[in-house]
Amino acid sequence: MKYTEDHEWLREEDGVYVVGITEHAAEQLGDVVFVELPEEGATVTRDDEIVVIESVKAASDILAPVDGEIVEVNEAIVENPAMVNEDPLGDAWFFKIRPSDSAQLDDLMDEAAYKELIG
C-alpha cells in the first residue's frame, strides 16, 4: 500500500491503482452521509478535487493522488455512504486510476511514513 498526505491509500491491482481513504481519515471525518465520485473515463491531474465527501459535520474534497485516467468508480458508496466508516480499507474504495506518469508514484508514502504522519 502507498499513502498520500491527504490520507488516501493506493493499492496496485493489475497496473491500475485502487484508491480509498484511511481508517484514520474515516475516523476523523465522522459519519459519512454523502459521496460524489468522478466520471469513469475522466482524465485527472494530481491534486484535482475529484471526490466530494460529506460527513454529518462538514464537506471535504479528495484529491487525485497522481495524474491518470479514472477507469472505475465504486457506486456502492454513493448508494450507502456509511460503508466509508465501516470498511474504509476494503469494500469502500473510491475509484481505480491508471497512472499516466508512474514516476509520481515514487512521491507517495509507504506505510511506515504514513504512520509517522498521523502519529
Binding site: 465522522g30 459519519d31 454523502f34 460524489e36 466530494v52 460529506e54 454529518v56 464537506a59 454513493v78 456509511a82
Partner: protein
C-alpha cells in the same frame, strides 16, 4: 492552556472518549460513539447531553415583580406564566430583531432564565440596562445543566427522582436527583420528551454518572444536538435567528401570547413592538421555511437559494442544513420571500457551483413527541 472554559464535567467527557472542540468559548463534547448513533439514541431511548455552557440566570426579586420587569424586554406573557411552568421566549431589539432566545421559568418565588452560551455577556448587559432598580440579574457560574432527552427519559430519571414522572411538558420543579438538589424542567431542544436538570457544578458528575448507569441512557454531544434540533425545526441563535431577523419572519409568532399582541391586556411594551405587532397582522416580507433537497447532497448554512436553475439573483439562503439521520436524507432551513414560502414550492440551492433542486417543506421534519 488557551482561554477556553472547561465544563464542570470535562473529566467525565474525556473518560467517556468524547471528541472535544471549542463552541462559544467552551471546550465541548462534540461526539462520543458518533453523531448518527447518538442521534438515534435520543430518538429511540435516552441521550444525556451536557449543556452547562448555557447561561443560567436568576432574577433576584419576587417573581411577580421580576415578571413585570422582564416583560419590558421580551414579547412573552411572563406575568401570566404560572408557578411551576416554563415558556420559550426571546429578547427583542428596537428594530424588532431577536437578541437571543431563551427559556423563562417560574419557580414560584423566583424567575430563572436559560440563555445561549454565546449571548451570556450580551444578555446580562441587556438585562442590567433594561431591568428597574430592585430587580437584579445574576449569571450563575457555579451550576451545571444536563439535558436528558428521548422517549425513555422518564423511565431513566424516575428511579433517581420520583417527582419527574408526574411532570408534563414545560413544567418546572425543584427536587433531588440521585440525592442532589436540582432544578428540573420537562423540556429540551431535540423534539423529544425529556428533562433539563440544573445542578450545583460540584455535584453534577455524580448525577451524570448515575444517569449514565441507567440502561436507557448513553452520552451524546453537540453534533447530535444539532441534527436533532434541525429535524425538530428548532432555531439555532446566530444561524436561523439573529439581531436582523424578527420573530414573525422566523415563524416564532406562536411564542408571543395573546396578552402581548395588539388588543391584548398588556399589548406591546417590548423593544421593536411596533414592527413585530405590525408583522403579526400584515405578515412579514420573508419567512423561515423547511427545505428538502431532492438529491443526497446536504445543503449547509450559507447555500444561496434561487427561483430558477439558471440566472437571476439569490432570493434567500439556507441558515441551517445537513443530513437528518431520522429523516434519512438531507434537511435544511432558510429564509425565502413570503410569496414562495409554501409547501411544495420548488427552488434551487447552489452547492459547489451547481444549482440543485430543493422543495419548501413544512416544519418540523420529525414531529415532536412531548408529554403534554
Amino acid at each position: 492552556m488557551s482561554g477556553l472554559d472547561r465544563l464542570p464535567l470535562d473529566a467525565l467527557h474525556r473518560d467517556l472518549g468524547a471528541r472535544m472542540a471549542e463552541f462559544a468559548g467552551t471546550e465541548m463534547p462534540m461526539q462520543y460513539a458518533g453523531v448518527i448513533a447518538e442521534h438515534e439514541q435520543a430518538r429511540s431511548r435516552a441521550a444525556l447531553f451536557d449543556v452547562s455552557h448555557m447561561g443560567q440566570v436568576v432574577l433576584h426579586a419576587p417573581a411577580e415583580v421580576a415578571a413585570a420587569a422582564l416583560e419590558r424586554l421580551v414579547p412573552q406573557d411572563v406575568a401570566g406564566l404560572k408557578p411551576g411552568r416554563q415558556r420559550y421566549g426571546f429578547f427583542t431589539n428596537p428594530d424588532g430583531g431577536i437578541e437571543d432566545d431563551l427559556m423563562i421559568a417560574n419557580y414560584g418565588d423566583t424567575l430563572r432564565l436559560v440563555v445561549n452560551a454565546a449571548r451570556k455577556a450580551a444578555d446580562l448587559a441587556l438585562l442590567r440596562a433594561g431591568l428597574p432598580e430592585g430587580v437584579a440579574a445574576e449569571l450563575l457560574a457555579d451550576r451545571a445543566l444536563l439535558a436528558l432527552q428521548g422517549p425513555e427519559a422518564e423511565a431513566a430519571l424516575a428511579p433517581l427522582a420520583p417527582g419527574a414522572a408526574a411532570m408534563r411538558f414545560m413544567d418546572v420543579a425543584e427536587f433531588e436527583v440521585a440525592g442532589v438538589p436540582a432544578w428540573v424542567s420537562r423540556s429540551g431542544y431535540t423534539g423529544e420528551d425529556g428533562y433539563e436538570i440544573s445542578l450545583p457544578a460540584d455535584r453534577a458528575e455524580d448525577v451524570a454518572r448515575a444517569l449514565l448507569d441507567r440502561p436507557e441512557v448513553a452520552p451524546a454531544g453537540l453534533g447530535a444536538r444539532d441534527t436533532l434540533r434541525l429535524e425538530a425545526g428548532l432555531c439555532l441563535y446566530g444561524q436561523d435567528i439573529d439581531s436582523g431577523t424578527t420573530p414573525v419572519e422566523a415563524g416564532l409568532g406562536w411564542a408571543i401570547q395573546k396578552a402581548r399582541r395588539a388588543g391584548g391586556a398588556r399589548a406591546g411594551g417590548f423593544p421593536g413592538a411596533a414592527r413585530i405587532l405590525n408583522e403579526m397582522d400584515e405578515g412579514a416580507a420573508r419567512a423561515r421555511v423547511g427545505l428538502r433537497p431532492e438529491g443526497r447532497a446536504p445543503m449547509r448554512a450559507g447555500v444561496p437559494l434561487y427561483a430558477q436553475q439558471e440566472g437571476g439573483a439569490p432570493l434567500g439562503a439556507v441558515t441551517s442544513g445537513g443530513f437528518g439521520p431520522t429523516v434519512g436524507a438531507p434537511v435544511a432551513m432558510g429564509y425565502v420571500p413570503a410569496g414562495l414560502a409554501r409547501q411544495g414550492q420548488r427552488l434551487f440551492g447552489e452547492v459547489r457551483g451547481r444549482r440543485l433542486p430543493v422543495t419548501v417543506s413544512d416544519l418540523p421534519f420529525v414531529s415532536a413527541s412531548y408529554k403534554t
